[in-house]
Symmetry: C2
Subunit: 220 residues, 2 copies
């Protein structure tokens, strides 16, 4: 949690610091991200940073929380109907999740790296927490769909949830990047580079993935 001092800061200064910090943590790993770099770019003194946050980890966790909130807000603005049919909901979530990654590359990357199972040891707890949230949600969805006989009853909800969960992250985005011969770094440096993907192409990819999953999971 940031200290009160940070929250008392004028809006624009606070925002600038956040933006620069997000950018740093999104484009370098946690340990490689540099506080010295952030304060230099933000034009503040190193000491000030420690008036705002306890330490590096504190700052990082705060940014992750912001990213989570941002994603939540984004998802609420998208067409995601939690009462919809399982496969419809899956399609909507896949669409919304991928769009978030495309439109908010830094937040997306930040959350993706926080959920990376082979992340840094210092961040183990955070990692576990974030992944558990996502997987639990997915597992419950599947259980519900099984109760309604929409999904094969012989499938293990946990295993199936794990598989779907691994697709919900940056999976589709990575496919697009691969097709455009771009690395994640290229994309972060120039998010516009992915605007070349047409709406049709986007929809085609999502619907193919959904079809595969549907074929694999649905009761026949």
């Amino acid at each position: 949690m940031p200290k009160q001092t940070f929250l008392n800061l004028p809006e624009d200064k606070r925002q600038r610091i956040i933006e620069i910090a997000i950018d740093e943590f999104a484009s370098r790993s946690y340990s490689k991200a540099s506080l010295s770099n952030i304060v230099a770019r933000a034009g503040i003194a190193k000491g000030s940073m420690y008036q705002y946050f306890e330490d590096k980890k504190d700052l990082y966790i705060y940014l992750l929380e912001l990213a989570g909130q941002e994603k939540l807000v984004f998802l609420q603005g998208q067409q995601v109907d939690v009462t919809a049919d399982f496969f419809t909901l899956f399609e909507q979530m896949l669409t919304a999740g991928t769009k978030f990654g495309l439109e908010h590359p830094q937040y997306g990357q930040l959350m993706a790296s926080a959920m990376d199972p082979s992340g840094e040891e210092v961040l183990k707890e955070i990692n576990v927490k974030f992944r558990k949230m996502g997987t639990d949600f997915m597992v419950n969805l599947i259980k519900k769909a099984q109760a309604e006989h929409k999904v094969r009853l012989d499938l293990d909800p946990k295993l199936t949830g794990h598989l779907l969960q691994s697709m919900m992250g940056n999976g589709i985005l990575e496919y697009f990047l691969g097709e455009l011969n771009l690395s994640m770094h290229d994309f972060l440096a120039d998010p516009e580079s992915v605007k070349r993907i047409s709406d049709e192409e986007f929809k085609r990819v999502i619907s193919q993935v959904v079809e595969i999953i549907k074929g694999g999971l649905e009761v026949r």
Copy 2:
């Protein structure tokens, strides 16, 4: 490529250095892995390391090559019949790939992190090379299966290949770790901790994944 000096080294010394270096690079990210640490553990002078390798990256790439060779040898020892039916081959590859990760945690982790699309910028080329190899293989397999009408013709081979490829890595292993409430670090520190997984459980998980994929891809 290592320098001749390294290749001239007595077998046991060379092996010891390799083992320690693998351990270091497997358990910390490329940038966090420390040469100072490696030489200290190996009981050699820092300067010696630079008689053996050009620099850190050179060493890392060499270790990756070793890991690749090790995996190849491992796969050859497993029951993988490249002439088999597509879904049979997929099952065999999934089994063999996951087993490799279980039995050679460090090599497995090393290769997984080298293929991580959001890896470090210095390693971009290596990353691209490794991923391309894997994906190309998968894509060709799918194209062949489509020609034989074993896989739905309306599926985009590249997209489908990308999806399958993302499962072939540490996906299943990560599921097991999640079930045992272990992190990747725990597993690397104590590979035995996963021996608790019975053969039946292992087979069950693989066959469920294969069934899902089969349902999703096969011609009906």
